[in-house]
């Protein structure tokens, strides 16, 4: 299983898509945690072991980018890699090093990227 033993946090306010992403990640072997806003996401990140966060750009309380900034600001969460997703085109506010996937997701490519980004033991 490509994502065995990985704990991935899916952050998306649109539940159907959050659900869909969680199913796909779990099928790949990952442990999935879900948050529908930035506040919940940060709480989970601070309290649980998360290997990677898959963050939708448009969140109701913060943008995905802002969430990432908060994560970076907190030493407990600063090391967690982030992949941004959006139904829209790649947002211009992302930097070149930011990893982004447009929906509908190309799962294979996504899993490959996750695998690359997560530092395994």
């Amino acid at each position: 299983m490509p994502l065995s033993n990985l704990c991935v946090l899916v952050v998306d306010d649109y539940e159907p898509l959050s659900y869909l992403k969680a199913i796909l990640l779990r099928r790949a072997g990952a442990v999935v945690r879900e948050a529908h806003n930035a506040r919940d996401a940060l709480r989970i990140l601070q309290t649980e072991r998360i290997d990677l966060a898959l963050v939708d750009i448009n969140l109701p309380d913060l943008s995905g980018k802002e969430l990432r900034e908060k994560m970076r600001a907190d030493p407990a969460t600063s090391a967690v890699p982030v992949i941004f997703t959006s139904a829209s085109d790649r947002p211009t506010l992302l930097g070149p090093d930011d990893v982004f996937f447009q929906e509908p997701l190309d799962t294979a490519a996504l899993f490959e990227a996750i695998d690359k980004m997560v530092q395994r033991g």
Binding site: Y14, P16, L20, N58, A87, S88, E103, P104, L105
Partner: protein, 1094 residues
Amino acid sequence: VKSDDTEHLRNRIRELEVRLEETEGTLRAIGGGEVDAVVVSRSGVDSVNTLKGADEAYRLLVQQMSEGAATVTLDGLVLYANEQLSAMLGVPLEQVIGARLHDYVEGRSADALSAILERDASRGEVPLLHSSGRTVPAHLSARRFRMDSAECFCIVVTDLTQQKRQNEIAASERLASLAKFPSENPNPVLSLGKDGSILYANQAGRVLIGEKDAAAADSVPEVLRSLAETALVDRTATSADVQLEGQTWSFFVAPILNSGYVNLYGRDVTEQRRVEHAREAQLTRLTALTRISEQILAAATVEELLQQVVDSARELVDARIAVSGHGFESNQFRVGRVSHAEGLAPCPEAGLFNMERGGVYLPLIEGTPSIRLRAADLLAHPLWWGLPDGHAPLRGLLGARLVGAHSDVNGLIMVSDKREGEFTAEDESLLTQLAAVASLALQHLEARNDAVSEKNRLQAVVDSLPVGVAILDSQGGNIRSNDAFEELWGHPRPQPLEVGDYAKFKAWWEKSGNLVQPEEWASARALREGEAVVGQLMKIETFDGANRIVLNSAAPIRDAKGEIAGCVVAIQDITDLRRAEEALRRSERLYRAIGESIDYGVWVCEPDGRNVYASESFLKLVGLTQQQCSDFGWGDVLHPDDAERTVAAWIECVRTGGNWDVEHRYRGVDGKWHPILARGVPVRDEKGEILCWAGINLDISIRKSAEQAARDSEERLAFALETGKTGAWDLDLVDHTAYRSLEHDRIFGYPDLLPRWTFEMFLDHVLPEDRAMAEAKFLRALETGGDWAFECRIRRADGELRWIWGAGRHRRDASGAARRLAGIVQDITDRKLAEERIAGSYEQARQEIARRQEVEADLRRSNEDLSQFAFAISHDLRSPLNAVTSFARQLKEDYQKELGEQADTYLSYITGATDRMRRLITDLLAYSRLADDGGSEAASVNIDEALRSAELNLQERIRETGTAITHDPLPDVAANFTLLVQLFQNLLENAMKFRGEEAPRIHVSAERQNQDWVFCVSDNGIGIAQEHLDQIFRIFKRLHGDEFEGTGIGLAICKKIVERHGGRMWVESELGKGARFYFTLPVRVAVGGQPPVR
């Protein structure tokens, strides 16, 4: 009495007479016409200048004398001597002249000579030294006389050698007679003792002393006793004449010293002595005549000469009265010089002497050389009418003719009152001879005086000339020159002796500057060619070193034979003249310059209208020469309309002698008419006659155009006032009269001009509520002198209420004081009404604009909202769409087998619909992004490159459809590259989409049109129906059904992209014939993508 003595004396007289005759002849010869009247001055040893003629006459005279003669200076230097003197001294003549007379005198006689030369006239025996060493006994007679400029002595030397010898002979004869025995001696012989007693007397002796007792001592005449006594005392023999008994006795007194008595030998010399006396007297007179002749010749003036003649005449004939009379005219003659003995009263009637009273002179006048009347004869003469009271008595009369050169000195010499006896024939002869000599001398002197006066006159003229004059001899040597000549050439000036010496005189020809050669001088040419050479203009360097400009002339002098004897040179210093001329020229230049500085210069016209002078500027203007202008050429260039008026004015001007002040036009060489104001005044001579008119030509074209401009502006103003319904007024602040235009009064409701108008009348028309304001503004303007303007309402004369506007200003005179007020007034009622209307409309318009601006703002806002909404919605729509797509895809993956075939179909419809939905959303998003400022970056874009990028993006589809894309060379434009790529991409897609049967062919071209590039993307597709052309750019407008995929937003985006770049887009097409999409892009697009101002 020895006959020798008498003979000797007779011979001597004859000699003298011969000499006088010779002298007379010589003088006559001189007087007969040989006297040279041409004055030639000659510098002698002592600078004595004499007349050549006088010199020669004198020389002839003295050369003919038997006596020696000489002219010596006051200190004895011999200027002239004759051959006789030379012979006396045994020294060649040329040695004598120039020597001192003292050199030929014995040492012990030198004092005697000096003594003679110290007095005016003296004589004495001065023995001379002969070159042989022998002493020559001589008698010197010297007379001082004055020659032209120096004094000298005329000396006559008589050789006494002969006389001395004769005296010695006489003495020896006397001794011989003494040797005879006394008793035989027919002459008385007496022996007187010491006491004077008669020791012996012979017969004749006794007769002499009478029949008295011989012993009586006192019977011996005292004179004889005295002689005897003296002889005894002197112990020397003497000889003496003694007058006894009316007889003259010559006694030889011989003392017999040893015996102490004296023998006296007497001889009756009564007759001898009488003859001797007479002869001696005659000799004296003849000598005197000779001397007198010399003196007369030496006389400087006629008066002096005549005085000498009368003095000499009286002396010659021993008379008490002598007088000269002159000018026999109208039976009268003038009393000339008078000489008379002391105590005598000569004629009291000096001056004119009436002949009728002196008829005794008539024979003289009639030609008789002399007359002689005894005293008794005179008194008995039939024409003797006696003497006036107080006249000295005339005893006897002797007269001789005096003939001078001039008739007024012609006359006579008369002597009267002989001291002893009557006038003798000898007297008459002497006087006649004197008169002859005097006549010659007179003629000579007069001639000389004439010449002298002529010479003096000439000299005076020459000397006073401002011109340098020199008289040159035939060789060109300088004989004489005047002061001006000396002054001109300066000092030290060399004395030229011949033409060759002229090289020392530095001169250059004025014209060529070449040196004047000696033979080129006027004098040299006059001497060579014998013709006057006049006016040589040359520059000379004087001997003082000064430079002068001179005019040099010369004329030859010819002698009586016509030979060239010399020449006269005249040299005139014209340096100052030249300077003056120069100054004149300069001043003329100055005047000319002044003349030329006047527009068209100055002019001078004669009364007949002939132009004498016109300045160059005028001549140049009209293209005439002075000659043409003088030949009435000015008439040809005068404007025809002015001609008649000008001529009439000129005639009037000449008639009245007034000033000329006429404007007329002249045709210039430029073909234009030039208005000229000619002004002039008459120029009068000293008598007040008008010579000409002189004046100036002023260019009044400027003034003319100014006048024209003033007229134009006046007309314009009048037009403006009239058409502007504006009234004008002009108030005189002094007399308060006001000029108004008709319009002015009409504004106040009067159909015609009122007879007068005042400020008060104006105020009456102003509505009461505006009156104070109007008056205040007016008064304030008056106080400050400033301008004013106001609007007020008036009640017109016809009762109508009107608005007027007035404005005015002060008009000042030359001193700056306000003299007038001028202003305008305008009825502005209509304007006021219009303004009110406009004011209402404006408010409406303003509100409308505000409203529209609000709407626009709302619109803009709603547009923005819309845009944001579209953006938001497009994004938000995607998530559910994605969910649908993803779940449909997941359903198919997970449950395909279980759902069956039918489910597959359903699922594919779901995914198809969601895909389409997604595209729509994407395009909508793209379009909405164009609404905001997304993609606004402009840079230089290579259209070619943009097209290629679009092709690259569509390469799959291009390959599939077999589309051929071609393009022309495409330019660079300033644009957003991404947008342009999208533009081309959409257009290419569009062309490929609406393809016809054939494979698509797309061509892209570009053409420059003004500031735009016009691009055309043409295809061979199905084309567009005419009625749809204006619809295709609308958003979501799809003309076709499902046969063509697409969102219907592509062309709308294209149009939007073009418009964002400031361009336009349109399409030309016909159904079935392909389509041509045109769009423009500005050559330059402003940064920021805003369209440039067109």
